[in-house]
Chain length 478, copies 4
C-alpha cells in the first residue's frame, strides 16, 4: 500500500490532459485548484498507514490474502460493508470534504458481481479478466475513478435515439486486439487525480443500444482522453489565499471533470462488458446502491464538522447558551444521525451474492439517499440560521490583510472576547463554504435518478404483501 | 412456553380488579373491550409455537439454557437486539396493532443491568433476587407489564415537593418482611392482561426523594391494586359490531390502564431498588432506550399494514394508477423504512454491559423516537389524503346492515367494480381506525421526555469533538 | 332574519328522512347525534342578531337592499369577501367546530356567476330563475346545503362510463313541468339541518355526459330523498354524556350525510343548469375556489381554540414555562396565521365578475388549501405533543362519575394544583376530540381534487412568463 | 424624479471611501464588482419613468403633493402598503436580485412614526427635523441606506457592557452644533451606491445605554466614514466574464458593506433620536416589521425568475414532461405564493398610526419572515433537484471560450436539441447563482432576531383570549 506522499509521486508520473480556465494543468499535485483535492484523496492512503485505523482502512484481499487498502477491496462480509461506512465518516471528519475514492470502489464492487452474472449466462470470461485487473489495482494501490454518468443529451430519448450518437459512451469499433470507444462522462469525481477510470454502461438499454453496453478500464492519460475540470462554488478564492476558502487544505466537494473519450482504444483484457444490454440496468443499480450506502458515512462526517463549526460560531458570537441555539444544534445532529442509521442498516442487512461478495440491502440504501437529499439542505439552513449574516457579507481576505482596512475588521469583528476576530472569520468561512458547497453537491444526484429510485422503492417494498396484511386484518378476500 | 390458548387460560385464573364504564370487568379474556387486546398479546405466545418464527420469537435463556419466549429474554448479543426489532415488525404485521408485551421486556432488561450496577456499588443483592424472579417469569412464560410512568402531578415540582405525596409511587412503610407502596401508574399498556407488573422508579430523584426510588414486582391482582381501563379513539364501536372497528380482532393501540397502588405489600425478595436515588436516572434512561428501539419495529409493522390498506383503497377507488398516488405510497414507505433503519442501527451498534447483557446505542435509539414522532403523523396524513372523505363520513354499520339503508349504501359505495362496497368499507374502516389511533398514541411519548431526550442527544453527540474537527480544518486553536 | 331559536323551530316543520344507527331520526333538533350540529349552525343565526357582529354577520342584499344574513349574500365587493373570512374565524372561535352553512353560500355564489355566463352564451333564463330563488332564500333566511360531491364510483371512468349510471347524479327524465333526477351525493355537510339543497354538477364532463350537467334546488324533504347520517370519530360518546365528547354543545366537525336522490322531481323554475357540459368545469372550479377561501377562516378559528386548549393544558400540567413548550405554541400559531394570510390575500385580491359579483383570486385560494392540508395535521401533532399521553388513555366518564373509581381519578389526575382534575380532563377531552376530528376531516378534501388543483396552479401561475423573465436575465432568446 | 442614468451620474459626484480586495474603489458605477448592484438600484429609478408602472412605482407625497418615487414615500393608506409589495415583486422579476432601496424606505417610515411618538412624550422636535430631511430626500429622489445592524460584539452582553464600547454605534460627543458618533454597521445593503444613510439605534437598550440611542442621517461620503465592500458567493466570477456570473447585469443578492463610523460629525438638524432609550425597541420593531413585509414581494419576484429558470432547464434537459418535475415546479410555486399571501395580508390589514401614516400588521408581517426562512431554502433545493449535477460541475467560461475545449463542451452539453449548449449553460448558471446566493442571504436575518420575533408572535397572538375560547367550550371556569 502507498502512503500519501507515494500517492502524490505516483500521480506525477501520469500525463493526463486536463484543462481549467482555458489552460492545461501541468501537475494536479501542484496546481492550486486541484491540489486540495489531491490532499483529500491522499488522506485515504495516509490513514491506511495509521495503526489506529487499520481495521477501518484496510482489509485482507480475497484474491491474494494480503492486506490492501479498503478502497480496492471487494466486500467479503457484512462487517466489510459496515466498516466501509464507518471508514467514510471517519475520513470525512478529517477532510471536511469529499475524498473521491469511493466511486471507483463502488464501481469495482458492482463490476465484480455483474461480470460474474454475465459470464454465468453467456460463458464469457469478463469476471476472470476483471479479477486480474482488480488484483493489479490492489497490488499497486491505485485510485480508480468510477465513470458512470454519461452526458445524456435529451433525457427524453434513449441512447441510440439521440441526434448525436456520442452523447452516450459507445463502442465505435471492435478490433481484434480490443475496442474503440467514444463519448463523454460528466461529473467525474476524483478523475483528475486518479490512476485509471472504470467505465460503466448507462442504464435502460434496449435492443439497438448494444454499442452502449460497454464496461472497461482506461488509464486517465490514455490516448484520446481529454478532461475539463469543472468549477465549483467560490473556487476562485483558492487562487487568492487560504482564509476565504474555508477549508483550504482539502477544499470543498469533490473536484469533478467532464471527461471526453475521443476514439479511445481499450484492449480486450480490460473490457468487462460488451453488448449485453439486459445486464446494464442491474449493473447500474448495483453501483448506485453501493454508492448511496456511502452518503450516511461521508456526508455525516462532513456534517460532524459543519455542526462543530456551527457550535463554535455560536460560542464565538456569545449566543451558545440560548435554548433555541441548542435546539437547532440538536436538530442538525438528529438529521445527520438519521442518515448514519440508514447507511448502517443497509450495510448490516447486506446479502451475499453468488459471486461471493456482499451487497447492500437496496431498499434501505435508497433510504439513505432520500434522507440525504433533504437533510443536507436542512443542516445547511440551520447552520446559516445560527451563523447569521456574518457569513454572507464578510470582506475579502485581502481587505483583512490590508493595513488600511485590516485593523478596522479586526476591531469590529470581535464577538465573544475569548476569541479573536481572525478565528471567528476562519470558522465562519469554513461554515459558509461547507454549507454552500455540500448542499449544491446534492444536485449531482438530482434529476432523473431519484425518481427512478422512488419507483424502485415502490417495487422493492413489496406492496402486494402489505395489501395482503391489510386485507387479512379487514377480513377482505383479495 | 405457553401457546395462545394457554395464555388466555392462565389469565382466567387471575382476579385483577379492573373497571370500565363504571363497572368491574369480570373476565378480560371475554369482555368485548379487552378481548381484542388479549388476542393481540396472545399472538406473542402463538407465534412462538410456529416453526417458521423460532429464530425471531424464541431464544435460549442464559439462566437455564432452555428455550424461552423472546419476550422474557435478557439480550445476550447484538443479534438478540436485532431480532427483537424484526420480531416486532413481524408481529405487528399480523396484529396491526400494539401487542403490549415489549414494555415488560424492556423493564426486565433495564432492571437486569441496573440491579447489577447498584449491587456493585452497595453490595446489595438486588441482582440475585431479580434473577431469581426472572427465572420464574421465563419458566412460567409470564406476561409482565412494565410500570414506569407515574401520574406525576405538577410537572414543575419534584416528587417529594408535590402537594399530594402519592402523585409519584413511593414506599410508605418498610417492614421486616417487605415494603408497602402507594401511588398510581398511568398509561399502563397491557396491564389488564398481564400476569405481573414490574414497577420502575421515576427519573430525576434528588436527596429527600429516597422513598420514591423503588423498583419491585407485583402481581396484577395483588391486594390494594385497582385498575381503571382507559378509553380509546372510537372504542365504543367495538360494543356495536365488527365492521366499524376496523381491526375487530386485535383492536387499535394498546389498551392502557390507570393502575392505583393503595398500600400494596411487596415481600423483600421482589424488591429490586429501595432508596438508591442516584441510580434512578440511569435506570429510566435504559428502559427508555430499550423502548425507543422498539418503535422502528412495531410501528413499522403497523405502517406496513396501513400502507397496504392505503394501496388497496386506492385500487378500490380506481385511482391507483395516478402518479401522485404512487408518489404518496412511496413517501409513506420511505417514512416507515427510515424508522426501521434507526431501530436496526441502534441494535446492531449495541454494546455489552458489565452485567453481561447487551444494551442499545442510546444516541441512535433516540433517533428512532425523533423520527417516529413526526413520521407516524405524516404517514396518517398521507393515508387520509389518498383515502379521501370516504373514511370521514361513512355510515354506521347498523345502517349498512339495515334493510332500508343497506341496499342504498351497497349500491352507491361501489368504487372500482372489481370490489364490493362492503370490502371497500372494511378497508376504509381499517385505515380510518389505524391512522387515527396510531397517530394519537404518539402523544403517550409526548410531553416532557422528548425534550429531555433532545438534551441527551446534545450531550451524547460529543459536540466538543465536533468543534475540534472544525477548528482543525479552519486552523483555529481552541 | 331568523334568530337561533326560530331556526330550530323552522327545522321542526320539515320532514326529512334521515337514518342513523339503523333508525329514523325523528327530530334533528332533539336527537343527541344531530343536536350539537344544529346548535353550531344556529350560531350563524344567533350572531347575526348581535349588534357587535353586524358588520361581519350581515350585508345589504343587492336584490332587495334589505339587510340579510351574510350566509345568503352574493358578494358585492372585496370587502364582502374579506368579511366572509373574518366572520368564519369569529364564529369558529365560538363553536370550536364546523357551522356548515358556508357550503350553500359558496354554491349560491358560484351559481350566480355560472348561470349568468350560461345565459349569455345560450340565451337561457337560468340566472333569472336562480335570482328569484335566491331572493326567496334571503327573505326566509334559509340554510342551504351545497350538494356537490357525487359518490363517483370508479375514479378511473367518466360519469357516463360507470357500470351503474346512478353513481353520478343525472337527469333521468325531462318532463313538461320539470326534470327527474337520480343519484347520490356524499359528504353532505349540514344537509340534515338545512332547509334546502342546491345541487351542483360534477366536473370533467365530456360529450355524452349531458344528462350529468345538472344544477337545481331541492328541499331536503322532497319526495324521493333519503339521507344516511354518517358517523364520526368518537361519535358514540355523545350518547353517553358530555364530558368525554370534548365540545358537547357543538360537537366536532360537520355532520355529513349520504343523500340519495331516487327519482326526485324538480320543477323548471328550480333548474339552473340542464345539459351545458362545457360550463360544468368552470362551475365546479368557482365553487371550489370560494370554498377554499373559507378554510383560512373557519379552520383558523378552530385552531385558535385548539391552541388555547393546548396552552391551558400546559399550564394545568405545570409545564407552561418550558422553552420548548413556548416554541411549539409559537409554531402552532405560525401555522394557523399562515392559513389566515392566504385566505385574506385571495379575498383582497378578488375580482369583479361580469355577473356583477366578486370572485376570489383562485391561485391564492388554492394556496389556502395547500397550506391547510399540511398545517392542520401539524397543529394536531403539536397539540398531542404538548398534551401528552393523558389524552390517549383517559378513563370513561362513567368511571369518573363512579363512586368507586371517581375518587381515585380525582385524586390522581390533579396536575398543577390550581386546577381540578375535572377541569384538566375537560380541557384534555376538548383537545383530544378537536385534534383528532379536524385532522381527519381534511380527508374530505383529499383524493383527486388536490392533484387537479395542483395542476391548476401550474397553469395559473403563468410559467411561460416566468421562463421569459429567466431567459431575459440570462440573455437567452426563447 | 431621476431616471436611471441621472441616478448613476449623481453617484459619480459622491466620494465615498470604499475598499474591496485591498484597494479603493474609484467609481461604484464602473467597478465590475459594484456595477451590477448599481444597475439593479437604477431599476428603481428607471421603472418610475415607465408609464406602465406609474401606479406601483410612484406616489403623491403627503408633504408636497407632488409625485415622488415610492421608495421615498411615507405610506398614506393600506393601498400604499399593498403597492409597495407589488412593486417589489415586479422589480425583482426584472432584476432577479435585490435592488437594495427598500431598507432606506423602511427606515424612513419607521423614523416618521417614532419621531412623532418621541416628540409627543418629550416635546422634542425630531419629527419636524425628520420631515424636513425627508422632503429633501423626496425632492432630490435620493437613495437612502437604512443603517440598522450594529456589529454587536458579544451577543450575550448589552451595548454598554461590551469590552469595546464601539461595538455598537454610539454618541461620543455632544457639541453645540451637533453630535459625534462612533461605531460600525454591518451588512449594509446598498450602502455603496446610496446617497445617504439613515442610522437607526439598536434594540434592547437599558438605563446606562443612553449614548447608544441614536438616530441620524449621514452622507455616505461624510468625513470619518469608511466602507468595506463584503464578498459574496462566487463574486470573483464577475471579474472574469459574464457567462458564469449567471445574472451578470444585476448580480445576485444585495452588495453589502461593513460601514465604519470613526468620529463622524452630525449636525443637530439631522439628529432624529438622542438618548430616548425606551423608544429604541419600538423603533427597531417598526423597521423590522416594514422590512419583513417586503420579503413576500422581492423574494417572490426572485422566485418567479428562479422557477422560470428551473422550468426552462427542465425543458432544455428534455425532462419537462415527467410528472415529478411538474410536481416540483408546483411545489416551488406554492412556496413562493404563500410568502406573497403573507405580505399582502400584513399590508391589507395595516393600521393608521397617530403620526398619520400606515403601518403593517406586525403579527402577519412576522409570518412573512417565518415562511421565507424555510421556503427560500426549499425552493433552492427543488431547483437543484430538477437542474441536476450539471450546475455543480460546469466548466469555467474560459474553457467554454477556448478553441481546444470549447468545441467539446458545445458538443457534449447539448440536451434537448431545440436549445444550444450555450443557452443551456446560461440558464444553468443563472439558476446556480440565484439559488446559492438567495438561500445564503437568508442568513442575514438569522441569528437572534427571529427568536425574538417568535417570542413577539406569542405575545401578539393573544394566547389568553385563545385560552378563554377553549375554556368556554370545555365549560371550564378560569
Amino acid at each position: 500500500m502507498m502512503n500519501g506522499q507515494q500517492y502524490k509521486e505516483s500521480l506525477k508520473k501520469l500525463k493526463p490532459i486536463i484543462y481549467y480556465m482555458g489552460e492545461k494543468i501541468d501537475s494536479v499535485v501542484d496546481h492550486p485548484m486541484t491540489k486540495p483535492h489531491v490532499n483529500s484523496a491522499a488522506m485515504t492512503y495516509e490513514l491506511a498507514q495509521d495503526p489506529l485505523y487499520q481495521n477501518l482502512m484496510t482489509a485482507d484481499s480475497h484474491l491474494t490474502g494480503t492486506k490492501v487498502n479498503r478502497f480496492t477491496h471487494v466486500h467479503q462480509s457484512k462487517e466489510d460493508l459496515v466498516n466501509k461506512v464507518k471508514m467514510m465518516r471517519m475520513i470525512a471528519q478529517k477532510t471536511g470534504t469529499c475524498f473521491q475514492r469511493c466511486v471507483g470502489l463502488d464501481a469495482m464492487n458492482a463490476t465484480f458481481i455483474t461480470t460474474y452474472n454475465v459470464d454465468k449466462k453467456y460463458g464469457t470470461d469478463y469476471h476472470k479478466k476483471f479479477t486480474a485487473w482488480l488484483k493489479y489495482v490492489q497490488e499497486n494501490d491505485l485510485m480508480i475513478a468510477g465513470a458512470m454518468t454519461d452526458v445524456k443529451g435529451n433525457r427524453n430519448k434513449k441512447p441510440s435515439g439521440q441526434s448525436d450518437p456520442d452523447l452516450f459512451t459507445h463502442i465505435v469499433e471492435k478490433r481484434e486486439d480490443g475496442i474503440v470507444i467514444k463519448g463523454a462522462k460528466a461529473h467525474m469525481t476524483g478523475m483528475a487525480n486518479s490512476h485509471e477510470m472504470l467505465i460503466l454502461p448507462t442504464t435502460n438499454l434496449l435492443e439497438g443500444d448494444e454499442a452502449y453496453a460497454v464496461a472497461c478500464a482506461v488509464p486517465v492519460d490514455a490516448k484520446g482522453v481529454t478532461h475539463v475540470f469543472g468549477r465549483q462554488t467560490n473556487d476562485q478564492r483558492r487562487l487568492q489565499g487560504d482564509l476565504d476558502t474555508g477549508n483550504a487544505e482539502y477544499a470543498i466537494v469533490g473536484g469533478e471533470t467532464l471527461t471526453v473519450l475521443d476514439n479511445v482504444f481499450v484492449p480486450w483484457d480490460r473490457v468487462f462488458m460488451c453488448g449485453e444490454i439486459e445486464f446494464a440496468q442491474d449493473y447500474v443499480t448495483r453501483f448506485a446502491a453501493y454508492h448511496r450506502q456511502n452518503y450516511g458515512g461521508c456526508k455525516v462526517g462532513n456534517s460532524d464538522v459543519l455542526i462543530g463549526a456551527t457550535s463554535l460560531i455560536a460560542k464565538m458570537n456569545g449566543a451558545n447558551k440560548a435554548s433555541h441555539i441548542k435546539d437547532k444544534l440538536i436538530e442538525m445532529t438528529h438529521l445527520a444521525e438519521t442518515m448514519y442509521c440508514c447507511s448502517l442498516a443497509c450495510s448490516y442487512e447486506g446479502v451475499k451474492e453468488e459471486a461471493g461478495s456482499y451487497y447492500v440491502n437496496t431498499l434501505l440504501a435508497n433510504e439513505v439517499k432520500l434522507n440525504c437529499t433533504k437533510n443536507m439542505y436542512e443542516i445547511s439552513r440551520l447552520a446559516h440560521d445560527i451563523a447569521g449574516g456574518f457569513i454572507a457579507t464578510l470582506p475579502h481576505e485581502w481587505d483583512f490583510n490590508s493595513p488600511v482596512t485590516g485593523p478596522l475588521i479586526k476591531k469590529y469583528f470581535v464577538g465573544n472576547e475569548e476569541y479573536s476576530a481572525e478565528d471567528r472569520i476562519k470558522i465562519a468561512r469554513l461554515l459558509e463554504n461547507m454549507s454552500g458547497g455540500t448542499a449544491l453537491a446534492e444536485s449531482m444526484h438530482g434529476a432523473g435518478s431519484p425518481q427512478a429510485m422512488r419507483i424502485m422503492i415502490l417495487r422493492e417494498s413489496n406492496m402486494e404483501q402489505k395489501e395482503e396484511l391489510a386485507a387479512n386484518l379487514a377480513h377482505v378476500k383479495l
